[in-house]
């Protein structure tokens, strides 16, 4: 499978080899091999329970994995290499690593007790120890970019789902991440609000951000992804360009999945 990608650049931002993960007796990741090059937009598709969200959470060290290798920016996730052995990171070092990876959640997870602006400057000020004035300037630029600058003083409860997700993207970008992870960013949205979030993500992809997106929006993935991954039952079944996977899937299961998804579109 991976043989098709020997021509991609050798330095990867994310590299997984034989990644395995179980919840109790249930093995949700059964050996994932996957690479993400800098500037690449990778969409992971697949049925619910295929392990795609779990894999995404492993990249950000929100979930520990049991076996295999996973590196981000050449560093093993959650660990450091000392004298040829992996040592668990200190909580502070692990937090510092996570701060460099942006994550956008299905249910937004904005901080409800803070205004839009406060949500965005919270981590830069508290975690990166940036000056408040600088953080506000950056936040306003980001809010402008996602089209939410007029709602800077609103509380999350006063926003629509699409607006919340755009603020959540701005919040993640305020940490100036090298990598953005999206966990089903449009699944909790009313259909008419999906477009505004996808537009912001497309703009981000165009700016050269490295993105890993778990999504059900196949047609959208076709438009912005450089690489599409089809996962099923904890395995990567097939990967390639979106066109290859959608129009000319090599695997029977991919074919069935794509046919089903395209019918519902």
């Amino acid at each position: 499978m991976t043989a098709r990608f020997t021509d991609t650049p050798p330095s990867f931002l994310v590299e997984a080899k034989g990644l395995r993960k179980s919840f109790g007796a249930l093995e949700v990741l059964k050996g994932i091999d996957l690479t993400v090059a800098p500037g690449e937009v990778v969409c992971i598709v697949g049925a619910s329970g295929s392990g795609k969200s779990t894999f995404l959470r492993c990249i950000n060290d929100l979930e520990k994995f049991d076996a295999g290798e996973l590196t981000v920016d050449g560093e093993p996730v959650g660990c450091e290499l000392r004298n040829g052995r992996l040592h668990e990171l200190s909580p502070a070092a692990a937090a510092a690593r996570r701060a460099r990876i942006g994550m956008v959640f299905q249910h937004f997870n904005l901080f409800p007790h803070m205004t839009v602006l406060e949500n965005i400057i919270e981590a830069p000020v508290q975690v990166l120890r940036r000056r408040k004035a600088d953080s506000i300037a950056l936040a306003m630029a980001l809010l402008e970019r996602v089209g939410m600058h007029e709602r800077r003083d609103a509380y999350p409860s006063q926003l629509s789902g699409g607006q919340k997700q755009r603020v959540a993207i701005a919040r993640a970008l305020a940490m100036e991440p090298r990598l953005m992870l999206f966990d089903e960013p449009t699944s909790a949205l009313d259909p008419e609000l999906v477009g505004e979030v996808l537009a912001v993500m497309a703009d981000l992809a165009e700016s050269g951000m490295t993105m890993v997106i778990v999504t059900h929006q196949i047609l959208y993935a076709r438009d912005i992804a450089h690489k599409m991954i089809y996962m099923d039952g904890g395995r990567v079944i097939e990967q390639g360009t979106p066109a290859e996977l959608i129009q000319n899937p090599g695997n029977e299961r991919t074919k069935t999945f794509m046919a089903n998804v395209m019918r519902t579109h």
């Binding site: 929100l62 937090a95 996570r98 460099r100 994550m103 981590a123 975690v127 509380y155 999350p156 993640a172």
Partner: protein
């Protein structure tokens, strides 16, 4: 019954231009006989209470008036307030520590906190109070040093250290900590898991996440219950009269043991407790409103 009221005329009124307000519906209200009788009974009872308070001379309102601002009563009131504040502070700080311990991933730490809560909730606070007061009976001197018979760096006679005030603060505060631990733990658990995930993914450490993200949200469920605890504490401080602390109740007792005006002096104490709890209720409502910001409105 009211079906006939929604005539086409009413519909037409609503459908018409917004500039013309619909006329209010003319509905004859249903007679509510049971409610009328109940209201009458309540009024009679209230009138009787008011009448007896005024006319029954055994209340001795003149005596109540004389002692309401008595120096001894006021100093007892001050001590009651001080004790409430200190015991609640001890309860909240220890309670927060215990709550966080109970959420730890280490079973040793979790069980230790659970054991504390179990013990201090399962024994009467009065017993604890008297126990602390008599601490010297088991530990004649209290020292800082290496345990299990090692050297001592600082040693104090327990009879000197354990004053009535110390016993009251230890007894009431540590008992309160067990309750506050449960209240705070419930509050922390009520915060959506997505919040701590978002904070973690933004690079927050556990302490800063607790302080900036989780605890402020937990407050909306912690504050109302804590307000009740403060009000209970205010009244529980009267138990400190058994360890010879001159708080509000024992000040009243001191006076009536001399003058035998028991009822009027209990009324003096009751009036001050009522005033203080009423003020606390107002403050509680203020704080609740502060922590409700950002909630769906």
């Amino acid at each position: 019954m009211s079906a006939s009221l929604t005539t086409t005329g009413g519909v037409a009124a609503f459908a018409s231009d917004a500039g013309r307000a619909a006329a209010p519906r003319a509905v004859t209200r249903r007679a509510r006989p049971v409610r009328r009788v109940a209201e009458a009974l309540v009024l009679v009872a209230a009138l009787w209470i008011a009448w007896t308070l005024v006319t029954n001379e055994f209340f001795h309102w003149d005596v109540v008036g004389r002692y309401l601002f008595d120096g001894l009563i006021l100093s007892g009131l001050r001590l009651t307030l001080l004790l409430t504040v200190i015991c609640m502070a001890v309860g909240c700080v220890f309670g927060l520590v215990l709550a966080v311990m109970q959420l730890s991933s280490s079973p040793v730490i979790r069980r230790a906190a659970g054991g504390y809560v179990w013990f201090f909730r399962a024994t009467p606070v009065l017993v604890q109070l008297v126990f602390w007061f008599n601490l010297a009976a088991i530990f004649p001197d209290i020292a800082i040093g290496i345990p299990f018979g090692g050297p001592k760096f600082l040693s104090v006679d327990a009879n000197v250290l354990v004053t009535p005030f110390f016993a009251a603060v230890a007894g009431l505060g540590l008992h309160e900590a067990a309750y506050m631990a449960e209240i705070i733990r419930g509050g922390l658990n009520s915060v959506d898991r997505g919040q701590s995930e978002a904070a973690t993914s933004l690079g927050f450490g556990r302490l800063r996440m607790l302080w900036r993200i989780v605890l402020p949200q937990a407050m909306s469920s912690i504050i109302p219950t804590t307000g009740n605890q403060v009000i209970s504490m205010l009244k529980y401080t009267s138990l400190a009269s058994v360890v010879a602390l001159q708080e509000l109740l024992s000040s009243a007792q001191t006076i009536y043991s001399r003058t035998f005006e028991v009822i009027p002096l209990l009324l003096v104490a009751a009036i001050w407790y009522l005033v203080m709890t009423s003020i606390l209720s107002l403050v509680q409502r203020r704080i609740e409103r502060h922590y409700a910001r950002g909630a769906a409105r």
